[in-house]
Symmetry: D2
Subunit: 361 residues, 4 copies
């Protein structure tokens, strides 16, 4: 009931605070007898890792993952997998000045209102650092889905502020995403994004962006009807990321200005498979995958932490001015790419196992 | 695990098919000793009811709700509440021709792929008729939240196709929504929407739209951190509605083009309350309510059923042409207003009870 | 969270009060494409049905089940199955005198303490009548397990008061159970039980008993480690029956006086299968089935309703005397046989589906 | 769905293997703003700790608990609490000889059947070492229940083999339990138990026992009707302990030979409270606490590991003989006392929070 667990059959429970000893998660429901080592997980963490360039936070974390349980002689046993990632570059003292202040558009005030207490060191549990654990768990599931279901994931930055790639997702290559410091596969757009972010950063400001996600080669039939639609679970997964303000899949908000005759995806046969000519459905119909690409967009707000003066109030209701001096990402969407992908993976993994439990006659 | 249940502490489980005997739900977790009768529920069902004007489906359903259990001498007892709504105007024969066809952008193919069998009568369980049960359950929770938490809900059509109200939600009055046949409180826009829908309908086509929702006077502190954020649960709730393609709250997708200095909501004190000057956060920070209005947008696609020829395939993989002659809504967003509101209510009710369980010291 | 749902992947939610309109349940998670009709369910309900002999309550209920949803053209579709059973022989007036009294060893006081309100008509939701719904759901699962897993269930009365069958469960035949009015397959013991119950009934009293359950031919590997052990879920299932005071499986309480050298079940091979020579483990080791018979005992207390004067207090705390004149079972264990079997079936069905979801490599 | 989580609102997820790096758990749902330190937990772990006397296993573990997250400046924050306990005295090599054997009445065979792989080092996840985590979590909840609900727990060994205390639980003092090396508060019985266990141990054998548990001063109204009865959840909790074969509460199996007129607990008033004269109900009626003492018995089987020759089979189906030389408890019920108490605490804590969420009007 408390909110730190995600998934039903592939269940992850995260823990740990931004400036505590470590962050991590327990994975319960990992299929047994599957080869798994830390080197399967580390590359995904490295994509999310802070301190990679001047476009992300200056916090230096190796984000080295340790598998503490659930793997025996290189294979999963079906037991819970505990993953730990130490916090190395902690600087709680950076937050001492904000101890009694509510940082605007952070969770300081709401945590105080809810719990009557809060860990003021870097937002504690509300920090984006919590997402390290999600990425680690996602890496485990991603390896499984790739090997057992042949499924592929592609996730990239579509826009930063008003700079947007003109590329269609079908043209995108995974390597081009990795080559871009802003995870945008469109070289020209990527360059402009870099310039924009550098300018924004110099102003002590931050900027929003949109992340685009694609799930390829999922079989038809995944997802549950009514409340646990694939689309509903993807939406929940994405909106559970702190800085995310919107989600759409397939035609998305554009669908609201379309006619049915434009929007409907006609069926045809190809190689004995039922296919759709267009894919406004975004690979999901009635909440269940139809075998086409699943694709979606996720809107990130600008980072709440900015190096400018802002008005706020103190714990005891006094007016105050706050100016962040700490380390932060000028555009959180960039490192958000890894988190969006991890969450998509976790949703698909859970539904893959649910699909397996169906006992279709 | 199967997908027909929503909520944790206020849990609804829906059942029933479009052309079966009835639809309905079981509510488990209703607080005891609360006055409840069918007349508390019926008005909400009447808002969603089909056959009200020529802008909605011609199916005639009274949608009369019956409380079968859980209420004793006019009060809830804490026992599960069974709500039943008969299907009166069933016409399964309308679907006989589509029995072996996959209707484009419906769930026919995906249900077949998932289950190996499907109820072809009006989409069976995938029909929007299932949402009657959600609206009935929502009516119960809405009465409770209004009386016990003083909370109010306002939900309306913001746009149909490219016609959009210019009204700010703060100017919207509940009565104006009810007076509009398209549930749009802006008289001028409403009239244009009516004209557009009539034109679209005459063409045998359908059109999308956007529904705007507002939750007022919720106390600060509702919602869970990390995965069960209020925003995440609202997103899931909305995307669980069949025709919905996107969700955003507060600044939404617009946040992606904004700077932090524009987007952040500064805090100030008013009447001893911590308030924010702006509300780009949409009343939710770190997944938890901050006491400001919670507002969001929900994108509806155009109805998949249209009276035009469309290409498709049959169950056994033959090319075919389909043309609907049945009854359908030219713009499903209109009746979607009641469903969006019900889902928002259900999310808030569940989090209200979770909040009560917190035992803050 | 509220307590009216059982199971994870095969989930039943019951509703309805003793003297309300009906009782029933929603089954969510039934595998699709499986033949199912009311005639598959009715025989199980008939075993539990009241009014069959003078050894059970005089309440006359046909307990005719209706399948309201989830079955299409004779087959399950994967959609929720609503089962309804009308209450026909309601006599709420029998309880008018007890309206403001707490009947001893009933749930009247605790429901009042918990909810601040209670349905005083026959115990409302706390009545054994609620178990009709469990038996109906169990019948559905039992058919599935029999046909798809080859599994068999055998459940009978082992003792009534101090009269006990000397039969080993392996000698018991299903037909002999059905032929006994007290569901005891041992003819001599059965006759003595009948006499005891008639005597007890004449005294206006009631008597306890023990029900013995066997699950045969379940494959090895069902059950989850740690908290969701098969044994733990069976224990919960049985103790969820109102009149049950104890549960043991395999060697049970006798294990507490045994040595390891007596108790351990040695392994050997037979027909390529790993088997155990003895079965003190009761077919479950480490919470997981080992392929041997699963067997257990369930202790029923004497019916709380008796036709003798008893001291109690009123709602407003006054001393009072109560004497039941209503209809009741002198030995609730007899009809409890059907409920115990249904609960065992529900546990096994749920774990069967969980087993299917495992994705063992 | 996987079985490593217990509880709904106070949720614990355990992880770790017997001879892995550590064992531990994540607690999700701990109320915020509550003082908590390692010294609150350690004393409970010390009660369960191995190596305390020659009556328990010779394995030497300090079982030092570390709070890794969820506590800030000495208080809980509402965030998940990670508890870690290192495995120090690991000797996986002790199990090398059993690597390809199925130890009788252990979980070796069933884990292999379920997962197709198993951690053979001391039973891996199926080891009683997993219960360290339960005791640690229980200590946290126990402190909360004591301080916030005034609730007390009393748990002791009632019998070892056929030696049984004649003490009524009401006469038992907590200190007498702690003073007994076998956790039996009856000095004479305790001494006989010690002698019996020493004799059994010398024979290379083991012996069963019964643990008695009492929960005092719980308010009336805890527990959920129907499936989540307090009694049902206690039964599940106890049967989730590996060596437990039976559970009964209140009159338990004795109820099966009693008449209603003997068994019913009459109500009376005392100090404005509704009380019962007798307590055959064991403090629970209709699954809900009535304010009287909750008491129950838990049957432990003899430890499966014995230092005698036993027949078994190998992984590839060959007959074999096994003789344990490792360290084990001759009577697992002794250290089981701490685990039984922890599980009782966890059940009550969860229902305490569920009770708080009820919103009774």
């Amino acid at each position: 009931m408390p909110g730190n667990t995600f998934g039903q059959l592939f269940k992850i429970s995260t823990f740990g605070e931004s400036h505590g000893l470590c962050v991590g998660c327990v994975i319960d429901g990992m299929p047994p007898n599957f080869c798994l080592s830390e080197s399967d997980i580390q590359p995904e963490l490295d994509k999310r890792r802070p301190g990679q360039s001047n476009l992300t936070t200056a916090r230096q974390e190796k984000d080295q993952v340790k598998i503490i349980s659930g793997v025996f002689e290189g294979k999963t046993t079906g037991a819970p997998i505990l993953l730990l990632i130490d916090n190395e570059d902690k600087r709680p003292e950076d937050y001492l000045n904000f101890k009694d202040l509510f940082r605007p558009s952070h969770a300081d005030f709401t945590y105080q209102a809810k719990y009557g207490i809060r860990d003021w060191q870097g937002g504690g549990r509300a920090s984006a650092r919590e997402t390290v654990a999600r990425v680690a768990a996602g890496a485990v599931a991603k390896k499984f889905l790739r090997e057992k279901a042949g499924c592929e994931f592609l996730t990239f930055v579509e826009s930063v502020g008003d700079i947007k790639t003109g590329l269609n997702y079908q043209e995108v290559k995974a390597g081009d995403i990795e080559n871009s410091p802003v995870r945008c596969p469109d070289i020209a757009a990527s360059q402009k994004m870099v310039e924009l972010i550098e300018k924004i950063k110099a102003e002590g400001d931050s900027i929003g962006g949109v992340v685009f996600g694609v799930i390829k080669k999922m079989p038809a039939g995944l997802g549950e009807p009514v409340f646990d639609k694939l689309s509903a679970d993807l939406a929940k997964a994405m909106l559970s990321i702190g800085a995310v303000k919107g989600f759409e899949y397939g035609s998305g908000f554009m669908a609201s200005v379309m006619k049915g005759s434009q929007h409907n995806d006609e069926f045809y046969m190809a190689n004995g498979q039922v296919r759709t000519k267009t894919n406004n459905s975004g690979g999901i119909q009635g909440g269940i995958s139809n075998g086409e690409d699943i694709y979606f967009r996720v809107a990130f707000k600008p980072t709440a932490t900015i190096a400018q003066n802002q008005n706020t109030v103190t714990l005891d209701g006094q007016a105050a001015v706050i100016k962040a001096s700490g380390r932060h990402d000028p555009c959180v969407a960039i490192r958000g790419v890894a988190v969006v992908e991890a969450m998509a993976v976790l949703v698909m993994m859970d539904h893959f196992l649910r699909y397996k439990s169906l006992c279709k006659n």
